[in-house]
């Protein structure tokens, strides 16, 4: 474990940037049609619960990282195996988000550049940042957070003033009843992006104020959920259900529709900058979790030495996981969230919490609440 200190504000910023990450890029929860925003909000509440589980688990062992307490709870062999599974999940997720980044740039701006080059450029920066430690990433986050919000608020005002939003597009509410929303929540929005906050378990031990971490974390997830729901509602309000679902990047199409006073138009760069920044943080955090977990399991004293080899693995994985963008999306929004995430993001943490509760029945949780 490296010697880093993460303040509450830094945790808040990191969670916000992480959650927005690739979720603002894709047509999130678009299977719920005009109620996508609702599906996102419901998913967010589920995400709050998942976050609470992880934090509660952490409070039992406030000095340990997940691989360590997994070993404590499940025994050496089983715990190591499970922690190893999580490393693979984190690396795979990092590769996925990196691929999102590359696909976005290639679809929309750099049509003739090879995917590998684009991904490599971002990955090199991320490797460099993680070599310097999580604290550096956190401080960078503080800097960029304001920038992202500035872009978001400016964009929001411009969309409002160009009179593009047609609230009628969001009606009729609950046309097909609750079942499509429930399906989308359970197979997508609960895990992507909210349940993914499980990676922050690797960062909790560095918190300066461990008691308040839970409150801040829940607040960050709540706020990011509201932001995503507003973004999706605006997308549907501007583009309509059909166009939102057919767009590879609905937010891009929304921003491209802005035309204010004949000269405030073609603001595609707003979209580019904000997604590049958010994705940078999402990949960094996943990558950090993978590197730190590996260092813990294999007792490596200098985790920074792992960054280059593991970074290269992620880079190559990002290019090879799917042969087309359609395949990539299908895997990400359908397969993984249906088969992989429920198990790793919900079932196992619940199980671990149960075991921890039974083991610590007498003493009570370390943090005490």
């Amino acid at each position: 474990m490296e010697k880093a200190k993460i303040s509450l504000y830094q945790l808040f910023v990191l969670i916000m940037l992480f959650e927005l990450g690739s979720a603002i890029l894709v047509p999130l929860a678009s299977d719920a049609k005009q109620d996508a925003w609702m599906a996102i909000l419901v998913g967010m509440f589920g995400g709050l619960f998942l976050f609470w589980i992880n934090y509660r688990l952490f409070l039992y062992y406030p000095e340990l990282t997940p691989p360590e307490y997994m070993q404590k709870l499940l025994g050496k062999i089983l715990g190591t195996f499970l922690a190893f599974c999580y490393i693979i999940l984190f690396m795979y997720s990092a590769a996925r988000v990196l691929r999102d980044f590359g696909e976005m740039l290639l679809t929309f701006a750099y049509l003739e550049t090879p995917l590998f080059i684009v991904n490599a450029l971002l990955m090199l920066v991320i490797i460099y940042a993680i070599r310097k430690g999580i604290e550096v990433v956190a401080r960078t986050g503080e800097l960029f957070f304001f920038f992202i919000y500035f872009l978001a608020i400016t964009g929001f005002i411009l969309i409002l003033f160009s009179g593009l939003i047609d609230m009628n597009n969001l009606k009729p509410i609950l046309e097909q009843g609750i079942s499509p929303i429930a399906r989308v929540v359970l197979t997508q929005s609960l895990y992507f992006p909210f349940g993914e906050a499980i990676v922050f378990s690797m960062i909790f031990p560095y918190l300066t104020n461990k008691k308040k971490g839970k409150k801040i974390g829940l607040f960050a997830i709540g706020l990011s959920g509201i932001n995503l729901a507003i973004t999706m509602a605006i997308n549907i309000g501007v583009l309509g259900v059909d166009l939102t679902a057919r767009s590879q990047f609905p937010l891009l199409s929304t921003i491209q529709s802005i035309q204010v006073a004949e000269f405030l138009e073609r603001l595609d760069v707003f979209f580019m900058i904000s997604t590049v920044i958010c994705i940078y943080f999402k990949v960094s955090i996943y990558f950090y979790a993978a590197v730190a977990s590996t260092a813990v399991i294999f007792k490596i004293k200098e985790p920074s030495k792992l960054t280059y080899p593991m970074g290269m693995v992620i880079l190559f994985m990002s290019v090879t996981i799917a042969s087309s963008y359609a395949e990539h999306l299908k895997e990400g929004l359908k397969f993984i969230t249906t088969y992989l995430h429920p198990f790793f993001l919900m079932v196992i943490p619940l199980l671990l919490l149960g075991i921890a509760f039974l083991k610590n029945r007498k003493g009570g949780p370390g943090g005490g609440f």
């Binding site: 929309f108 049509l111 009729p172 059909d242 199409s253 491209q256």
Partner: protein
């Protein structure tokens, strides 16, 4: 130490190579900026694309008396192919530059093509392409080929595509028989089962061959010119008819897109005696189910001033204004009724009543969706309520009288 310096130098050198961003560079002088794209179909059934390309040297400096005005501000090339992408790429054989569509803000579709097949086949490649902007405006070449509209040179706005767009924009703001529809709107309407597409047409008066020459722009009254035409009604993506005049304006009112206009009403026995300048208008459409049938209620609110009064009337008297308001309401109602009748005749719900029903009664809509345009829309009864207000009468109150 020396090795360190050498390494540093090497890194800088590497950066120069890697970070200069020349991967797929396109020099400005290698780009042919397409201002407008016209699409037709030829006798063999292949698409013909006509690209209006900006001639940078001839556009700039015209006003300053610089050497700009020698040649035409735009050049036109055509490409033929079985698909839009093919024709665009094939056109490169005729051009010394790379076609660049990021500034294309006008798409002209030939009338024959729009009648023959669904225009969604044309819109798909344009919507899909990353260069093409979804805010490009669509017009139909009324009574001519799209290529003719694209080829004609115009006088005040030198780039013809700008002339067409600005004409549409300003006539929409002052007269209101036309609407500007961009590609994104068009696709939305094509997709929605509860709303059909309506697009403005553009016409050419005079001869194309004369319009192509620079002399055309050097006359005070160009022998060939472009002007906004009627409103094209679509059904299932195909052009089914044109509406113009008061019917077209009635449609624009129903679409809630009328910004301003002028209505003439009969007063004291004289036709068009009083002209009402509308400055603000709002239309609310509600569709409800009544005894298993859709019933449309249309509420229109209009605000405006008196712009012209050619018979002697006491415009100081509020009661008189109220009476004139009644006449205006009748007039607006008549135009709306005409528009409704025409759309029903064409069996094309361009007003989006289906969408309104979808919002108010999703279940009923589900049943009617497939036959909405053919069965339910033409049968739907409509209640029209118009509220017109005269706010001001301009700088004078009563009109002047000769030899009083």
């Amino acid at each position: 130490m020396k090795i360190k310096k050498f390494l540093f130098f090497l890194v800088i050198l590497g950066n120069i190579l890697l970070l200069s961003g020349c991967w797929s560079k396109k020099e400005l002088t290698d780009l042919a900026i397409v201002a407008a794209l016209g699409i037709d179909k030829n006798e063999e059934g292949r698409y013909v694309g006509t690209m209006q390309i900006i001639n940078p040297g001839n556009v700039a400096g015209g006003l300053q008396g610089g050497g700009g005005s020698q040649g035409p501000p735009v050049s036109v090339i055509t490409g033929t192919g079985d698909s839009i992408v093919e024709l665009s790429r094939r056109a490169s054989r005729k051009l010394s530059r790379r076609l660049y569509y990021a500034h294309t803000n006008l798409v002209v579709i030939g009338e024959d093509l729009a009648k023959e097949e669904s225009i969604s086949t044309i819109l798909d490649p344009l919507e899909r392409d990353a260069q093409f902007r979804s805010t490009a405006i669509i017009v139909i070449a009324q009574g001519s080929k799209a290529s003719d509209i694209v080829k004609v040179l115009t006088a005040i706005d030198k780039i013809p595509s700008n002339k067409i767009i600005k004409t549409l924009k300003f006539t929409e703001k002052t007269w209101g028989e036309n609407i500007t529809v961009n590609m994104q709107d068009a696709v939305k309407m094509l997709v929605s089962p509860g709303k059909e597409l309506a697009v403005s047409g553009f016409r050419l008066s005079g001869d194309v061959d004369k319009g192509k020459k620079m002399e055309n722009t050097q006359e005070t009254e160009p022998s060939s010119s472009l002007y906004a035409g009627s409103l094209a009604i679509f059904k299932n993506g195909k052009l089914t008819g044109w509406i113009d005049g008061e019917t077209a304006r009635g449609s624009v009112i129903l679409l809630d897109k009328l910004n301003a206009s002028a209505f003439g009403v009969k007063w004291e026995g004289k036709d068009e005696a009083i002209i009402y300048e509308l400055i603000r208008q709002k239309t609310n459409v509600m569709v409800k189910m009544e005894k298993g049938k859709p019933r449309v209620s249309i509420e229109v609110q209009a605000e405006g001033n008196i712009g012209e009064a050619s018979v002697s009337t006491d415009l100081n008297n509020p009661d008189v204004l109220l009476k004139i308001e009644k006449e205006i309401e009748k007039k607006i109602k008549k135009e709306i009724t005409m528009a409704l009748k025409q759309a029903k005749k064409n069996k094309s719900d361009i007003f989006g009543f289906g969408d309104a029903l979808h919002r108010s009664n999703p279940e009923a809509w589900k049943k009617m969706k497939s036959e909405w345009n053919d069965v339910y829309f033409p049968e739907a009864k409509a209640d029209i309520v118009v509220d017109a207000f005269i706010r001001r009468t301009g700088l004078r109150n009563i009109p002047h009288q000769v030899n009083k």
